[in-house]
Amino acid sequence: ASQKHRDLVAEPMGEKPVGSLSRIGEVLGEKLEERGFDKAHVVLGQFLVLKRDEDLFREWLKDPCGANAKQS
């Protein structure tokens, strides 16, 4: 995970897929993609909209309910 994280922050996030986020395994990655959170920057956006509250973000990650705004 830490190597994955180092790779992620080593360059601009650009169009990196959600799977490039450390600790996002295959199952959760697929779940996030289904809900439109297919890129790392979209998940970053969700963290920012949750005001960088780690508890809220962890809770949301447990059950990434609610489509991303584009879908809804």
């Binding site: 909209v49 949750l50 949301w60 609610g66 705004a69």
Partner: protein
């Protein structure tokens, strides 16, 4: 949980404030999470 769906975002935010639940803006990608938080608080 459905009865929260009829609340506007502003009304939902007011309930979150009333229950002192930490929250950010209510948008399409966060609304369900906050409805769940209120449901958990009330149950």
């Amino acid at each position: 949980m459905d009865d929260y769906a009829v609340l506007s975002d502003t009304e939902l935010a007011a309930v979150l404030r009333q229950y002192n639940i930490p929250h950010g803006p209510i948008v399409g990608s966060t609304r369900k999470l906050y409805e769940k938080k209120i449901f958990e608080y009330e149950t």
